[in-house]
C-alpha cells in the first residue's frame, strides 16, 4: 500500500515536472498545447474508489492552476475527466473484464485498448478545457481545431512517456 502511494507520488511529481518545465514552455503556435498531466488520472489503479479519483483530480488540477496562473480552468477540466473515468473504463472494458491488481496500461491490456481509453478521456478533457478557457462560442471551430490538434499531440507524448519512462 505504502509502496503504491510512493510510486504514484513519484509519477505525479514527474508528470507535473514534464508538464510545467517542458511542455508549458513549448510556444509552438496557439494551436498545440499538449497537457500530459492528465496521464496521472489515467494510470491510477482500477480499484481506486470514485471519491478518491475525484479528490485526486481536483488536487492535480489545482496544482496546474496555481503554477500556471489559470484560475480553475485545469481544475474543472480534470475533475470532469476524473468523474468520467469509471464510465469510460466500463465502456472500453474487454469481454472478460478487468483483473484486480492489474494497472491500466499497454502491458496489461494491449496497445489498442490503451489508445482507445486514452483518446476518449484526453479528448473529453481537452474539449472541456479549451472551451472553458475561451468561454464563448464565437470562435467555435477554431477552438475545435485547437482541441483536436492538442489531443493528437498529448496522445503522442503520452505514448512516449508510457513506453519510455513508466516501464516499472
Amino acid at each position: 500500500m505504502l509502496n503504491t502511494i510512493l510510486k504514484y507520488t513519484g509519477l505525479f511529481i514527474l508528470l507535473l515536472a514534464i508538464q510545467l518545465l517542458l511542455l508549458n514552455n513549448i510556444q509552438f503556435s496557439g494551436f498545440v498545447n499538449p497537457y500530459i498531466y492528465i496521464l496521472f488520472i489515467l494510470l491510477l489503479p482500477f480499484e481506486t474508489p470514485s471519491w478518491l479519483l475525484l479528490i485526486l483530480s481536483f488536487a492535480t488540477g489545482m496544482v496546474m492552476d496555481i503554477s500556471s496562473v489559470t484560475h480553475g480552468i485545469h481544475t474543472s477540466a480534470t475533475v470532469f475527466a476524473g468523474f468520467l473515468r469509471p464510465y469510460v473504463l466500463n465502456f472500453v472494458a474487454p469481454h472478460e473484464g478487468y483483473e484486480l491488481g492489474d494497472l491500466p496500461g499497454i502491458k496489461a491490456y494491449g496497445f489498442r485498448w490503451f489508445i482507445t481509453y486514452v483518446i476518449i478521456i484526453v479528448a473529453l478533457h481537452h474539449f472541456f478545457l479549451f472551451y472553458i478557457e475561451v468561454f464563448k462560442f464565437e470562435y467555435f471551430f477554431r477552438t475545435l481545431l485547437r482541441v483536436l490538434l492538442s489531443t493528437g499531440f498529448t496522445l503522442m507524448f503520452i505514448v512516449i512517456v508510457q513506453s519510455v519512462i513508466i516501464r516499472r
Binding site: S29, G30, S50
Partner: protein, 276 residues
C-alpha cells in the same frame, strides 16, 4: 437514515463531482481575488525566482543579439528624446528653466515569464512596487507595444499581453491619424485586429499603426505594427489585420512606462463625464 445512506452511496460521487466543479468555477469567476491568496503569491514568487535563474543562464546565448538591439535602441532614443517630454510653452512667463516638463518615466524590466499559446496570455516582469510600478502602466519593448500591467507584487509584476482576448487599446494609422480599437482574436500570434476605421479611409498594406495616447496609458506614437491585410466586409468599417512589430515569442527586455500626468487627465475627464 438508511435511505439517506443509500442515497449517498448511490449519488455521493455525483454530489462530490458537482461540489468540486462548483469550487473550480468559483475560482474561475473570482479571478481578481484569487491572485491575492497568499499561497498563490508565495508560489508565484518562488516560480518567478526560479524562472529568473533559468533565464539568467539562457540569456547568455542571446547576449550578442540583445546588444545589437540595445545599441539600435539607444541610437533611436537619442534621436527622439523629445518625444517623452511634452512641450508646455504656455508657461513661458514663469521664470523656470524648464520649457519641457517630463510626462513619462521609463522603468527597464526583464521578462521572466511569458506565454503566447493561451487565449489569455500574461507576462511576468522583474519589477514591482519597490521600483514604482503600479497597475495600468504601459509595457513596451524596443520593437513596439507589449501589454499593460495588471498585477503588482513587491518585486514582480504581471502584465496582460496584447495577445489576450481581454486586451483593448486605441490605435491610429500614423499616416492620416484615423483611430480605431485594437484587439486580438485569439488566433494567429502574428495578427492583431484593428476595428472601427471607417470605410472611406484610404488604407494600404504596409501602413504603420501606432498608439494614440488617448487612454493615458501608452504615450502617443509608439509603434504597434504594420497592416498586413484588410477587408471591406460590406459594413461601414474596415476589418484590418495588423502584423505586430513586437515578436512576442522572444521578449526579453521591456520598459514599463509611468505617465506622471495620468491622474490629472483621468480626474478632469471623469469630471466632465459626471456633469453629462
Amino acid at each position: 437514515m438508511r435511505s439517506l445512506l443509500n442515497f449517498l452511496k448511490k449519488f455521493g460521487n455525483v454530489l462530490l463531482f458537482i461540489l468540486l466543479e462548483l469550487i473550480a468555477f468559483y475560482l474561475l469567476a473570482a479571478r481578481p481575488n484569487y491572485h491575492n491568496i497568499k499561497l498563490t503569491k508565495a508560489i508565484n514568487a518562488t516560480k518567478a525566482a526560479m524562472r529568473k535563474k533559468i533565464n539568467n543562464a539562457v540569456d547568455y546565448f542571446s547576449l550578442s543579439d540583445i546588444n545589437k538591439q540595445l545599441v539600435r535602441e539607444n541610437e533611436e532614443l537619442k534621436n527622439t528624446l523629445q518625444r517623452i517630454y511634452k512641450s508646455e510653452e504656455l508657461t513661458t512667463f514663469n521664470v523656470t528653466d524648464s520649457i519641457y516638463r517630463q510626462q513619462y518615466v521609463y522603468i527597464s524590466a526583464a521578462v521572466v515569464n511569458n506565454s503566447v499559446n493561451k487565449q489569455k496570455n500574461y507576462i511576468t516582469l522583474d519589477r514591482g512596487r519597490l521600483s514604482g510600478v503600479k497597475e495600468d502602466m504601459a509595457v513596451i519593448c524596443p520593437e513596439g507595444i507589449v501589454g499593460i500591467i495588471v498585477e503588482v507584487g513587491r518585486n514582480y509584476s504581471i502584465a496582460m499581453s496584447v495577445l489576450n482576448l481581454e486586451f483593448r487599446l486605441s490605435a491610429r494609422l500614423s499616416k492620416n491619424g484615423y483611430f480605431g480599437s485594437l484587439t486580438w482574436d485569439g488566433g494567429n500570434v502574428n495578427s492583431l485586429i484593428l476595428k472601427e476605421i471607417p470605410n472611406h479611409v484610404n488604407v494600404s498594406v504596409g501602413d504603420t499603426v501606432e498608439t494614440t495616447g488617448y487612454s493615458a496609458v501608452f504615450p502617443e506614437g509608439i509603434m504597434i505594427g504594420t497592416i498586413s491585410d484588410f477587408d471591406e466586409r460590406g459594413g461601414d468599417f474596415l476589418d484590418i489585420k495588423i502584423q505586430p512589430s513586437t515578436d512576442f515569442r522572444k521578449l526579453s527586455n521591456a520598459y514599463i512606462i509611468a505617465n506622471l500626468k495620468k491622474d490629472e487627465q483621468l480626474k478632469i475627464e471623469s469630471g466632465i463625464q459626471g456633469t453629462r
